[in-house]
């Protein structure tokens, strides 16, 4: 993930390099001025920088309109709104929160829940780039960081072990979700996009803890993603009854089992029509 050569898109390759961020920031600041001041001969990198600068400007505008009322004009956060500073959350956090529709949120005191996202990919990209440019934090992942294709069966099984160790306590054994204290919930992740699983693990949205690369490197994240995908694609032995375990099973045992057998018993014991 630190090798620029492996990245498919040059823009991403720049942003992905560890050293790139401060350099990029300086460069883009410089270029914002430069582009406006004069028509400079465009090299590859300066064109990228120019594009970034443009993105950042666009993102800043979008931020001012959509986010600043809670997070402040400079993303410094507003304590009385319960809105955290976004200076060091990273582009990945913005990408996750906006793309899943969690941000902007309706009620700042409730849990941010996934809903229909109303932004275009370009707008999200601009917002993320802008916020990412404000400080540190994880960047939007490249496909090689989260795409689980090509893992071996053992890798996926290890992903399952990691999933049950780190994730199932909140998200349940197949990712159907579960309860948290005080009305909060861990959402279902059965159909969540791999990139967003990566982003959630790295940025820790809401009450979710961060699962950083120091303990769980990208290879392990991929394995977890592969496991969640495959365990939900495995054919089931009948209707899954919500996938929430024995409570639903007991309920259906009474409703379907005892229910149908009592109907049968009524049929057995009633006298039919009489002549």
């Amino acid at each position: 993930m630190t090798s620029p050569a492996s990245a498919p898109r040059p823009r991403q390759s720049l942003r992905r390099h560890r050293a790139a961020r401060p350099v990029l920031l300086a460069l883009s600041l410089f270029l914002v001025g430069a582009v406006y001041a004069a028509v400079a001969p465009a090299t590859t990198s300066s064109a990228d920088g120019a594009a970034d600068a443009q993105l950042i400007a666009q993102g800043k505008d979008l931020f001012a309109v959509n986010c600043a009322s809670c997070h402040g004009l400079n993303a410094e956060g507003l304590a009385q709104q319960g809105a955290p500073a976004l200076t060091n959350v990273g582009a990945a956090a913005v990408d996750f929160q906006v793309r899943t529709g969690r941000m902007p949120m309706g009620n700042p005191y409730a849990q941010a829940v996934g809903k229909q996202n109303t932004f275009t990919d370009d707008e999200i990209n601009a917002l993320a780039t802008y916020v990412g440019s404000l400080g540190s934090g994880p960047k939007v992942p490249g496909e090689d960081q989260y795409n689980p294709d090509g893992l071996s069966a053992e890798d996926v099984a290890r992903g399952g072990d990691l999933f049950r160790t780190n994730c199932s306590a909140c998200h349940n054994f197949k990712g159907a979700g579960g309860a948290l204290p005080n009305g909060f919930v861990a959402p279902s992740i059965e159909k969540t996009d791999p990139a967003q699983i990566w982003e959630a693990m790295r940025t820790g949205p809401g009450q979710m803890p961060v699962f950083a690369a120091g303990a769980i490197p990208d290879e392990d994240v991929k394995a977890v993603i592969a496991y969640v995908q495959q365990v939900n694609a495995t054919p089931s032995a009948g209707l899954t009854l919500g996938g929430i375990g024995p409570v639903a099973e007991g309920f259906w045992a009474w409703v379907v089992g005892i229910g149908s057998l009592v109907l049968a018993a009524v049929w057995i014991a009633t006298r039919g029509a009489r002549a």
């Binding site: 053992e154 309860a179 495995t234 032995a237 009948g238 209707l239 009854l241 014991a269």
Partner: protein
Amino acid sequence: MAKPAQINPSSPAMEVRTPPQEESPSKLAAPAKWVDDRIGLAKLLGNIRKIFPDHWSFLLGEIALYSFVILLITGIFLTIWFKPSMTEVEYAGTYQLMRGVPMSEAFASTLSLSFDIRGGLLVRQIHHWAAMLFVAAMTAHMLRVFFTGAFRKPRELNWLIGVGLLSIGLIEGFAGYSLPDDLLSGTGLRFVDGLVRSIPLIGTWAEFFVFGGEFPGDLIIPRLYMVHILLVPGLLLGLISAHMALLVYHKHTQWPGPGRTQRNIQGYPFFPIYVAKAGGFFFIVFAVTILMGAFMQINPVWIFGPYNPAQVTAGSQPDWYMGFVEGAIRIIPNWEWHLWGTTWSWNIFLPGVGLMGLLFTSLALYPFIEAWITGDTSEHHLLDRPRNAPVRTGLGVAGMAAYGMFWLSGGNDILATQFHVSLNAVTYFMRAAVFVVPVLAFIVTKRICLSLQRADRDRVLHGSESGVIVRSPDGGYSEAHQPLSQGEAYTLTRHPQPAALVPNGKKVGRLRQRLSHWYAAGQVPKPTAAEIAEAAHHAAVEDGHDAPALEGGDSGDTP
């Protein structure tokens, strides 16, 4: 099997010496004679035309019995492949998502049963659904017996056997739930470890003895396997046989109705009607469990994963019948004593050991307590309609409400996520609800019973509502009432009503007297013969023609 011997010694099958003079009326005579000569078949069978009354609620116990038979059949199939061993292996079977994961042989063989043995998964699912139905049907059957007063003399001992069956049924179910050694069952075992440990004074010793040392050890699954396939099924078989033998000896209870008395039984003969009906019902129960196994996934252990003491999952719940204990453990406040270097952990012991003990003790004692309160020492073969025993019905519903509240508490996390309420709020609510709701349930149920008694009284006196509105000459509207048939009126009035104990010379304890007053209080007196006659007369005068509320007539004796 104890049975009133009613064999006619001159029955043809019993003839020993004389060859048949004429062609026997039955083709079965020759083979029957062959067997009878050797084992006295006719004596063994007794009366195959034994009468059973017909009512749907009498079939609930049959569901439990058939589920047990299904459990035996499917259980034998499962034992052929299941390995009750906690030896660690690395999985190398067909289920790719477990490839290379360390697990116990028990879990690996469960996966093999589910993925490699054709039909194994189906049988596993049938077995588990049948287990859920077994306990559910026992519970429903017990409620039927309770609310109809079928536990009264002479059936108290059979009630006790039933309570025993239910309680060891729970143990059987729990042991089976633990065997696959998956994440949920292991979590359940860890819970049992904590529960056993919490017993004051001897807890640690009990834990070390049950688990063969520290949790989890490598003995608990083989031990539970023995309990699950040998010890408890043996006990269940014995108790079920005794339960059925007593049923046959006492003859089944029956609902009140025309011609039905404490001294007779009315219904259909065992052979052929109940052989067909009960045999057919067995297949229907089997069919329902098979179809549930085919279409409803249960206990998908391959998704839960093998037991790992460092893993846990949201939605960790036991099967439904342990849910009330789980609920109590969830809502108990954190009471623990720390005295002189010891720990008394009431937060597990009370809801776990205490609540289960309380439930089964009160169930076992109830028939004796009720008989003591009412002073009733007579035999009962006619069932009570629940409304005619309002206090008993109220207590039963209160008990169900308490159980239900504990049960809901066991799913407080699921309630919180499904209904979008706070988990903490659910817990606080339930702490109060387990005490308040049963009291409310008792009051409401008793009121409903008394209202129904009043409705019965009105129907007997004034007939049933016909739905026909009549306009009288002076412009008033009224609903015409249909007089009851004599059979129905008899059914509604033949029950004795509970009466308070009257001290007669010797002393009756104050508590007992108070309880008996409470038990009998508030009943709507059933109409007397004079009141019925009066009402009939009144109706006749009002309608202007003489239609008595009851067709009188000489009571037909039983044929």
